[in-house]
Amino acid sequence: MAYINLHRASVQFPIYNARSRSLKSTIARHAVGATIGSRPNKDVVVVNALNNITLTLQPGDRVGIIGHNGAGKTTLLRVLSGTYVPTSGNAEVIGVVSALTDLQMGMDPEASGHENIMMRAILLGMTYQQARALTPEVEQFSELGEYLDLPVRTYSTGMMLRLAFAVTTSIQPDILIMDELIAVGDISFIEKATQRIKTLIAKANIFVLASHDENTLKRFCNRAIWLNRGELAADGPLDTVVAAYNKASRQGVEEMGPLPATTPTQPAHSV
């Protein structure tokens, strides 16, 4: 059973600069009290990355998240995957989540391909036995053959991504979260990878995809969430929301938020 429920969830990033991060200034502030020259939050810029988001995702939902750079898409994905706890409001995430955002997390270039498969699998929550059982499948899918005995630093970028992709996508999550659709490798591998992703999406109870590409969204999603400057601008059937978003974009109604909330990650290998 997979289920996500956000209730009036907001995320405020305190951006501390060196001054306000230092202990000295905090102590000084408390010691001096609210007298002359002490303006408490002078140095802390607070970015409202998400504002009062209320939404429910249920099994069967294929959700596309749209919005300009800095609209809060990545932040929302992190809240949905449970790595960010909203600074106010509630987020309830039930189910095994897999966030395919950084494929290369925890890859050790000095370790061999086999060792990296094990490491990756353990990080994804497998037992040693499950991880070992996974190896032949990954070996076959990644087509790396004897290269798996060599340290990963000897791989080309494409080979490394193939390995990471093969391991990461070998787990079927209840909730699948992606920041742009990933596809790696040369033409023949891309085909295989796309096929794998499709199956993964089809079998997931809930699928969330942040993307700028309308065609991709239309292919995989049935519902869209439009974020504008951290606010939920619209939530509904894909076509309606995308149409509204496009119209608004053309009219230039939208502006950039006061500050980009997060660095938008757009992997070079995205399609």
Binding site: Y16, R21, R78, G82, T83, E92, V93, V97, M119, I122
Partner: protein, 300 residues
């Protein structure tokens, strides 16, 4: 493993207003404060419990930290052992002459002292960086954050095991008699390891927020080294100095783990001090971590 559900739950209190509430009149307010403090401790303990269950992850990350550091070197992780051997032998020879002590007595003392001291200070300095070093994982995996504290803690214990290899060697070379008191090494190391853990949990949380703290801590440790009997013996000090030494909790922490190695039973006062440290430290650390654990990711 699914921890997402767990991480998403806020500690059951509203934004810590209750914690910050003034201890004004009325037992009702006091009750509320007590309840919310208990809530913080409970949420921190739950977090830790979940993290312990994810042992595969922190054992893997910890082991890998060490493996990465020494990969492609001939001695591998035994460089840890080699380094401490050089330190201890060098210092033992020079300082036994300075302090006019026989090397048979002084070298085992320094060896046991440094093995324990490196464990204590290693945990403290690495503890400061525990969340900072795990940023990449913390923003992706949905395991409770104390997994990363356990990672660093585990790494410190593995390093300690490599350092400890020199102890039996030194005891053998200098024919130090080993008696029943040696068994007290086990509780001694447990005291050090558990005290170290709360320091890591507390410092890790604070250092994620205040980036000057790691520097402050590392200079503090340097000072601590000079006022803790690692190289000298506290009985070399005049009576007034010894009284001060009795109040240094780190001297007691060092003593409960080191002295049994050399056949001395630590004093009741020393055990009392480290037990007090344990209770007091864990309470503070759980309160702070319980309060801020959901904020740490935003600070990274």
């Amino acid at each position: 493993m699914d921890f997402s559900q767990y991480r998403a739950l806020e500690p059951d209190l509203g934004e810590g207003q209750a914690v910050g509430a003034t201890l004004g009149d009325g037992s009702k307010q006091l009750e509320a404060v007590k309840r919310s403090l208990a809530g913080l401790v409970r949420s921190a303990i739950e977090d830790l419990g979940q993290a312990l269950k994810a042992w595969r992850i922190w054992v893997l990350l910890g082991t890998n930290d060490i493996r990465q550091r020494y990969r492609r070197s001939t001695l591998g992780q035994f460089w840890i052992t080699a380094t401490i051997t050089v330190t201890v032998v060098g210092l033992g020879i020079v300082y036994s002459a300075i302090f006019k002590q026989s090397i048979e007595q002084y070298l085992p003392y320094v060896a046991a002292g440094f093995v324990v001291w490196f464990l204590i200070t290693g945990m403290i300095t690495d503890g400061c960086a525990t969340f900072l070093d795990s940023e990449g994982y913390a923003k992706q995996l949905t395991v409770p954050l104390s997994v990363y504290v356990l990672r660093t803690w585990y790494r410190a214990l593995v390093t300690f095991a490599h350092n400890a290899i020199i102890i039996p060697a030194v005891l053998l070379v200098f024919l130090v008699p080993v008696g029943w008191a040696f068994l007290l090494v086990v509780p001694g190391i447990c005291f050090v390891a558990l005290n170290g853990f709360w320091m890591m949990l507390l410092l890790g949380t604070l250092c994620a927020r205040f980036r000057d703290l790691p520097q402050i801590v590392s200079s503090f440790i340097q000072v601590l080294f000079f006022v803790t009997p690692v190289m000298f013996r506290s009985d070399q000090l005049p009576a007034s100095g010894r009284a001060v030494m009795d109040l240094n909790p780190f001297a007691a922490l060092l003593a409960v783990a080191r002295d049994p190695i050399l056949g001395r039973v630590p004093s009741a006062l020393e055990y009392a001090i480290v037990t007090g440290m344990l209770l007091f430290g864990w309470t503070i650390a759980l309160l702070v971590y319980g309060r801020y654990r959901t904020r740490i990711t935003y600070w990274l």
